[in-house]
């Protein structure tokens, strides 16, 4: 296969390309996920978190 000596290396070669393709396909299919509702919840959490964080570090400017 592909000029390679045995199936073990051939499979590794194909899976190298295949796993990169899997990453690309998964990423593109889920490019805009999570859904807006979930994202809104996360943003609300983030804002609450940020307030606490800023309270800890208020006044600090390095």
């Amino acid at each position: 296969m592909l000029g390679l000596g045995d199936w073990g290396v051939g499979l590794a070669f194909v899976l190298t390309l295949g796993s990169a393709a899997l990453c690309a396909v998964y990423g593109f299919l889920n490019w805009n996920k999570p859904a807006p509702a979930e994202e809104a919840r996360e943003i609300a959490e983030e804002e609450a978190w940020e307030k606490t964080e800023m309270a800890h570090t208020e006044g600090e400017r390095q």
């Binding site: 990169a20 990453c23 996920k33 940020e50």
Partner: protein, 530 residues
């Protein structure tokens, strides 16, 4: 010294310094300094993850290993992409981001400490990182130094000082933003360098399949010393369960491939993005980046045998003298002179992008986890505390890098040894409890602590007394037992510590958890995102 190389290097260093300054200008809080404000662009996060993951060891060290093992080492790339990117981002990353967010964790030790409600774990994990990382960082630093000495004609000490000053300054002042911006720039250079390298290697042999066929036809040129250990040619897997097969599968493929999941400097990247959407997008870039790094290095390393045999009548490792010299010599002999400059910068980028995160992780481990959270030394200026701790880490790493070559007799194996040691320790100590902590509500504080301690002890024991690659140069086993390794003459000496440590750690964590009090429901509700 080549003028083109010198000018390109100076230009590169100037841009790096400017990006570090940009990070400094944009840093105003501890959240900025430790997690880049948790609003990092997915492309920057993914490239930074990849370029931190890939150091000179992966390109030169493991590329040279590919010249010895052949293309079977591509299984490591498969694991690097599938486990190190896909599973790491989608399975571990999403859960880590959500849980880290809920627990308000800024660092990996803090994540473990808060998940298991254990200050001991936070401090102990930070201590392991701070003690073990200088060896890994020192090894990576040496990789950068060796190229700076050639590129700028500097002495070893001057090159060490230059690289420490530049990386140290932009990490100390730029914090995580400085690290991420410079990582993204350096990662971009690495992609360009590796794409050009791949194109030259394949086109010079008449294309992909033709190149593979020529390498396959060289199977009868494998030296007897290699065939005796199970080598069956550079395009075939070693004989099943032969010493070479064990080394390839357990140390190279599993050791590095699985070890990446529990690297503190990588895990923290998942906590720098604001939502799971960034991780979904990052996985596209991360997968392609790793394929272009280790995939290309391994293919070129293996194919270099065809080039060296046609020019010198010798296989790559014989022509180059040692595996670490294969890739540099291949480039010097077979690629245009201008590419030498590009490749130097590629390698310098690989070293610096890994070092910057190592410094950042060491500084936050001591400053944030040990001093501030563990010992309760609250400061009105937490960033300053982390900076001072980072400076200590940088100085220790520099001294380690200075004395490493004298300590290890064979300089050629330092980078890979330092990397393997840190990966093994982290995987042994952290992987099982980190994974259980993410997905199993039943793991208890005692279970996590016992998993951590057992994994760490087994890792240390195997590294110092059994694992040939580390035990032999370290000399501790020789001094105590009169033999270089307790695994001599058996396959044990070739098996990565992680193969023993992770199952032991997992077993202790699960069994102890079954017999000890569970963490309270309120605590679990505060940990789990859903």
């Amino acid at each position: 010294m080549n003028a083109t190389v010198a000018v390109t290097t100076m230009f590169y260093l100037a841009i790096t310094a400017a990006l570090g300054y940009l990070g400094y200008r944009q840093t105003s809080s501890a959240k900025d300094y430790l997690l880049a404000g948790r609003k990092v662009h997915p492309v920057i996060m993914a490239v930074s993850y990849g370029s931190t993951f890939i150091s000179t060891a992966a390109i030169v060290g493991f590329g040279g290993a590919a010249a010895v093992f052949g293309m079977g080492i591509l299984w490591l790339t498969v694991l690097n992409i599938f486990l190190g990117i896909f599973i790491a981002f989608i399975v571990f990353g999403k859960r880590t981001r959500g849980m880290g967010h809920k627990l308000d964790a800024h660092t990996f030790p803090e994540f473990l400490g808060r998940r298991f409600d254990s200050t001991f774990l936070q401090v102990a994990a930070a201590a392991v990182i701070f003690i073990a990382m200088p060896l890994y960082a020192g090894a990576v630093m040496l990789g950068g130094v060796s190229f700076l000495t050639v590129a700028l004609g500097l002495s070893q000490n001057m090159a060490l000082l230059t690289i420490v000053l530049i990386v140290g300054l932009y990490v100390m002042f730029g914090g995580m933003k400085g690290v991420l911006y410079t990582d993204a720039f350096q990662g971009g250079i690495m992609v360009v360098g590796m794409v050009i390298l791949l194109w030259f290697a394949y086109s010079g042999l008449g294309g992909v399949v033709t190149a593979h066929e020529q390498l396959t036809a060289m199977a009868d040129k494998v030296p007897a010393a290699f065939t005796g250990k199970g080598h069956r040619g550079w395009t075939a897997m070693p004989e099943l369960f032969s010493p070479l097969w064990w080394t390839l599968i357990s140390t190279v493929v599993l050791g590095v491939g699985i070890g990446v999941l529990a690297q503190p400097q990588l895990v923290v990247r998942f906590m720098t993005v604001k939502s799971d959407r960034e991780l979904n997008r990052g996985v596209v870039i991360g997968g392609l980046f790793i394929m272009l790094m280790t995939g290309v290095a391994f293919v070129v390393g293996a194919l270099s045998n065809v080039y060296f045999f046609s020019s010198a009548g010798k296989i790559a490792v014989a022509a180059a003298g040692s595996p670490d010299n294969v890739i540099p010599l291949f480039i010097k002999q077979n690629l245009p002179e201008w590419f030498t400059a590009v490749f130097m910068i590629t390698l310098l980028s690989a070293a610096m992008s890994t070092m910057s995160s190592q410094f950042h992780t060491m500084g936050s481990a001591v400053g944030h986890d040990i001093l501030e959270k563990g010992l309760g030394r609250k400061s009105a200026r937490p960033i300053r505390v982390v900076r001072i701790a980072m400076l200590a880490g940088i100085l220790i790493t520099t001294l380690t890098a200075h004395y490493l070559p004298a300590f290890f007799k064979s300089g050629a194996t330092i980078i890979v040894n330092g990397t393997a040691l840190f990966f093994g320790l982290c995987a042994g100590a952290f992987l099982a409890i980190y994974a259980l902590g993410l997905f199993w509500k039943g793991i208890t504080r005692a279970g996590a602590v016992s998993g951590f301690i057992s994994g760490l002890l087994v890792s240390l024991f195997v590294l110092f007394f059994v694992f040939e690659k580390v035990a032999k140069p370290l000399g501790l086993c020789e001094a105590l037992f009169g033999v270089p390794t307790l695994g001599a003459g058996t396959p044990l000496g070739n098996i990565d510590p992680l193969v023993f440590a992770v199952p032991v750690s997992l077993l202790f964590a699960v069994v102890v958890s079954l017999f000890t009090p569970r963490l309270g429901d309120a605590h679990l509700a505060a940990c789990f995102p859903d």
